[in-house]
Each structure stands twice: as structure tokens, then as C-alpha cells.
Symmetry: C2
Subunit: 334 residues, 2 copies
């Protein structure tokens, strides 16, 4: 009880933002009014999400880079799209992405539905020429005709809009509750080790939680500048500033190096780190965040404690059945 009170005090000290950090991860995610979550939509979305035929080559599914069998991404600096192509950013995790305020590293999509539309027609990701081509291909697969009708209620339901709605509905179910941290804030004080409690307190005291708070540790704001502090040593090593972030989309100077605040949930499983995946270990990521965001040289003890705490944010991964993708009997898919 003593430790728990200590935690609450520490949180109280940092004000309302940090209090939000003491919430357990919800086990369900809210859905937008125009895309209520239904079992049929989730099932269709799971099939689409794992179907490599949504790519030009038939080799890259959503799940290829945002791997639901791993920590929701591919543990690579950048992902490998069709024909072995790679881009400049690291795939964000799909787990708990339902709790992101905005999507993509640069936050350019306001919803999971909008996000899902992007990679499919990105030439270096899934490489389809257009969503018309995707829809045309899906229409040749009888099993999709049936599954879209089940999910959306009428015979001509295979559209871009419905495909992205189904994928988003599935993604909203990808939640990993019951981490050690969740158990701790729900009252089980034995769920965290002493070191993890110390790490949590330090994360609060140092100011990590000014940006990374709330149940998914990705708020209260949606965006934050990175790096805040310019540092020649880390820049030479990691080239963080090469990528303009949101400004690459908006062209606005005020958006330069603005990024979505990523969730810290399951962060132990999503190495390498940062938008360009240039940092291989979590301890180095913590050290860099201390320096570039808070202008602090963290001690090894601080780093180890915070990393121990971050490991307590690894949740329980739900058991899923493997989808059976509908076939194209007697012919190829393209």
C-alpha cells in the first residue's frame, strides 16, 4: 500500500495530465458513428488485413508490416513493401492503434479508416495502382462477395469505403489489456517490481508523462515536436531531423518535425525505435528521449528503471483464429 500511495502522490505532483496515466487500458475501443463494430465486419476486416492479394504482387498484406503475430509491426527499421522496396519510416504497431488520436507517424490520418486506405496504393508499400483496381480484384473473389454482403447488408458492398471500414473495425479489436501496469493501477500492488515502480515515478518526475500519459500513454496532445533540442551527436548518428514529419504533408513551417505522440503500450516489443527506426534498443531510445525532449542526461540507473517500467506496459495478446482467405478456384487472382 505504501508504494501505491507513493505512486499516487508522485502522479498528483505532476498534475492532471499524469493522473490520466494511472488508468488501465480499456478492453474495448470506441467506434465512429458511421462504422459501428460488428462481428461480421471484424471477421471480414481480419481476412482483408491478412490478405496479400491486396498488394500488386500478392506478397504484402497489412499484416506483413503490422504483424499481428508479433508486437504489431516487423521489428525492422523500415518495412519491405512490394518488390523488396523500403521507405524511410518504421511501421507503427497496430496493437492498441484504436487509441491513437491520429494515425501514421506524421498523424496525417484522422481515423483508422483513413489510415487503412493509404498503404494499399502506396507504390513502395502494397503497390496497387488504385483502389478501383483493388475493388475490381476483390469482386472476382466469390468469398469476398459473400463476406462483404454479410458485413454491410447488401449485394454490391465491395467498395473502398467498406473495405477500409472493415479493416478499421478489426483493428479496433486489437487491444492488449492486463499488462503488469494495468494490474498495478487496478489495485494489485505486487504486479510491478520495485524497480518498475521506481521507473514509473521517474517517468513522471522527469516529465516523460507530459506527452506520454493516458491509458495508452500517447496523450494528452496528439502531436509533439521531435527533436525539441538540437543535438549534433545524436543527429549525426540517427539523422532524426532529415524527415520533416507533418510538414512533409502540410508544407507548413509550423509543422516541421511535428510527429504523432506514439503509444508506449508494448513498446518493449517494437524495436527498433523512432520514426526512422534508427535506434536498436529501448535503453538507448530512453536515453535519447531524455536528451532530445527533456534536455536531461539520464543516468544508467534512471534508464534501467524506466526501461523496467516500460516492460510493464507489455499486455496480453488476445488469442485469434487464423483467417481462411477466400480462394479463386481454378484461376490466379490477377
Amino acid at each position: 500500500m505504501f508504494k501505491f500511495r507513493l505512486l499516487v502522490s508522485a502522479i498528483a505532483l505532476t498534475g492532471s495530465m499524469a493522473v490520466a496515466a494511472a488508468e488501465a487500458l480499456p478492453t474495448t475501443a470506441p467506434a465512429p458513428a458511421d462504422n459501428p463494430t460488428t462481428a461480421e465486419k471484424v471477421e471480414l476486416g481480419k481476412i482483408l488485413y491478412h490478405d496479400p492479394r491486396l498488394s500488386s504482387t500478392g506478397t504484402v498484406a497489412c499484416a506483413s508490416c503490422h504483424n499481428t503475430m508479433l508486437g504489431g509491426e516487423d521489428n525492422r527499421p523500415n518495412s519491405m513493401g512490394v518488390n523488396g522496396q523500403t521507405g524511410g519510416r518504421s511501421a507503427p504497431t497496430v496493437w492498441n492503434s484504436a487509441f491513437n488520436k491520429v494515425q501514421f507517424w506524421d498523424g496525417r490520418a484522422a481515423s483508422l479508416e483513413a489510415q487503412a486506405a493509404g498503404p494499399v496504393t502506396n507504390p513502395i508499400e502494397m503497390g496497387m495502382k488504385s483502389w478501383d483496381d483493388v475493388v475490381a480484384r476483390l469482386k472476382t473473389i466469390d468469398g469476398y462477395q459473400v463476406a462483404f454482403e454479410k458485413a454491410f447488408g447488401d449485394k454490391n458492398s465491395i467498395t473502398k469505403d467498406n473495405a477500409t471500414k472493415a479493416i478499421a473495425a478489426y483493428e479496433r479489436t486489437l487491444i492488449t489489456p492486463n499488462s503488469a501496469y494495468d494490474k498495478y493501477v487496478s489495485g494489485n500492488k505486487a504486479a510491478l517490481t520495485e524497480q518498475q515502480v521506481r521507473g514509473l515515478e521517474k517517468a513522471n518526475q522527469l516529465g516523460c508523462t507530459s506527452c506520454h500519459s493516458g491509458p495508452a500513454f500517447n496523450g494528452p496532445g496528439a502531436f509533439q515536436k521531435f527533436p525539441v533540442i538540437s543535438n549534433g551527436y545524436f543527429e549525426a548518428q540517427h539523422h532524426f531531423s532529415k524527415d520533416g514529419g507533418l510538414a512533409e504533408v502540410t508544407g507548413k513551417d509550423s509543422d516541421k518535425h511535428m510527429w504523432k505522440v506514439p503509444t508506449l503500450r508494448n513498446i518493449a516489443l517494437t524495436a527498433p525505435y523512432f520514426h526512422n527506426g534508427s535506434v536498436k534498443t529501448l535503453d538507448q531510445a530512453v536515453r535519447i528521449m531524455g536528451k532530445l525532449q527533456l534536455d536531461k542526461d539520464l543516468s544508467d540507473a534512471d534508464v534501467n528503471d524506466i526501461v523496467a517500467f516500460l516492460n510493464a506496459l507489455t499486455g496480453e495478446f488476445p488469442h485469434q483464429t487464423m483467417p481462411v482467405l477466400p480462394g479463386t478456384p481454378g484461376k490466379t487472382f490477377n
Copy 2:
């Protein structure tokens, strides 16, 4: 009953090979004496089979090309390995591969264990430099230490031999029973349509079942020459003879254009066809087989009936749980 008797007569006419064709697919596969199937080994094998970290880039798993969510392969002419590379042969299906007498298109592997060792270190497939590198990588993943120990009973069980044994043990569970054909030969005469029964009879009468008989329609022999008949028109279109088959491994002239007889199970789901995946549709594959193997110009009616029968060989795909791949908390996998 009349139709069923007719079938039995037709089968009897073609002798003992074709009689073997009237067996339903077994629901379990025999395992070699040195690799008995156990639940722990199957579970580990499923994880390894779906783990892209068995490839140099971390992007290609066994399942990428032999997709367990589809018909056991990728519906591509040839598969795409690491860095977008492609080879000259089409991925065979993993479903029911336990019933193959030999493995790979050229039959160069005598067992599933021997097959599993190949693609991992093939530079254009999974691209690992050596199995020593694979083993070293697996040893850095704590969850694999635990899973190998569970499966093989002692602490230092992560070896090439055990990894391929586990993958083979999993593959032996990938069986698709209860096709319409299986129900038919088990006594349910309504399970096949009239056209499918006609197709089955024609396949017997024309001689397809001299090579494609037995429960998996891939025997009695393990190998067969293809093409038997040289045909300039199809050769110009499909270049079947460019690839020497087994002779490319053995160097023997007698092995030239010798290939494993592939199973016909689920063949409707494994387009495109032939060793080089150059034929997009099942009806054209049947026509070509008639000409090049039996020297017969099949009528459209024959082709349609045989294709209808082949569709009756699509089995029931077992429900599988999606494996949770063990993570590397706080760091990348390589």
C-alpha cells in the same frame, strides 16, 4: 447407387493403381520414427513456420510463400523471397504435403524435415547465410529457448535438426479432409454432382490416374517425366523444358525433366500451374496435361468435366489459432 457402381466399375477397369484412387484422404499423417508428432513440437513448428525472422531481412516466413491462410501457397508463378527476389519455380502447396513421397518440385528432398532446411538458407528465398546463423538468432529469443525445451526435453535444444523436425511435425498436421470426393468415396453418393462423377470417370479412362492416384492423387510413383510428348506450340508459350527438373540436382541424363508427381488435392486453389507457374487456369492445365502427357486433344466437355471433378478435391481447412511469436523485449532481432 447406380452411379457409385458405375464409378467402381470404371475404377476396376483401370486396374489396381486406380483402385487406390478411391481412398479418402487420411486425417492423420504417419511420422518418421525419429520425429514422432507431439503437441509441443507441432506448436513450436507452427511458430517457426510463421516467423519471418527466419529470413535475413525478417520479412519472409515459410508461410509467406506456402500460405496457410490460402491454398498452402501464394498463387504466384514464382514466389518472392528476400529483397524482392524471385526464382524459377512455383511454390508447391504445404497442405497435405505430409502425403508426398518426395519434396520440392524436383523431389530432391526425401522428407519434410529435409525440405524445411532448404529455403531458409537459399539466397533468393529466405536468405540466411547459414543454419548456424539461424540457430544463433533463435537462441537470442527467450521464448524459443522455452518452446524448444518443451518440445525436445532439454535445455540446449535449439539446433537446425530440431527446428526442421518441429516444422515438419507442424506440416504433418496440415491436412484437408472431407472434400466432396472424400464424402463420395465414403459412401455419400450425393456428394459429387453428375458432372464431377463424369470427370472422375474420364480422369480414370484417359489415364490421368496412372500417375495421379492414391488418397493424395500423387502416386503410385514418386516421379514422372514432364513433358512426355514434345510440343512446339506449348513449349513456345510456356518453356516447360527449360528447367531440367531432377537432373539439375543429380546431373544425370536419365533424370532430365523428371519431376515429383504433385498432389491434386486442393488443386483448384493452387493456380497458377506447373513447375514454372506459367499456366494461369486449371482448365488450360488439364488441356496441356492431356496433350503433353497422354498425347490426347481433350474436348471442351472433357476438360470441363475433369475440372469439375478436380474442384471436388478441395478439402476442409482446419481451424487454426494464430501463433504468438516470441519477442525480443527491448531490442531488435538482429
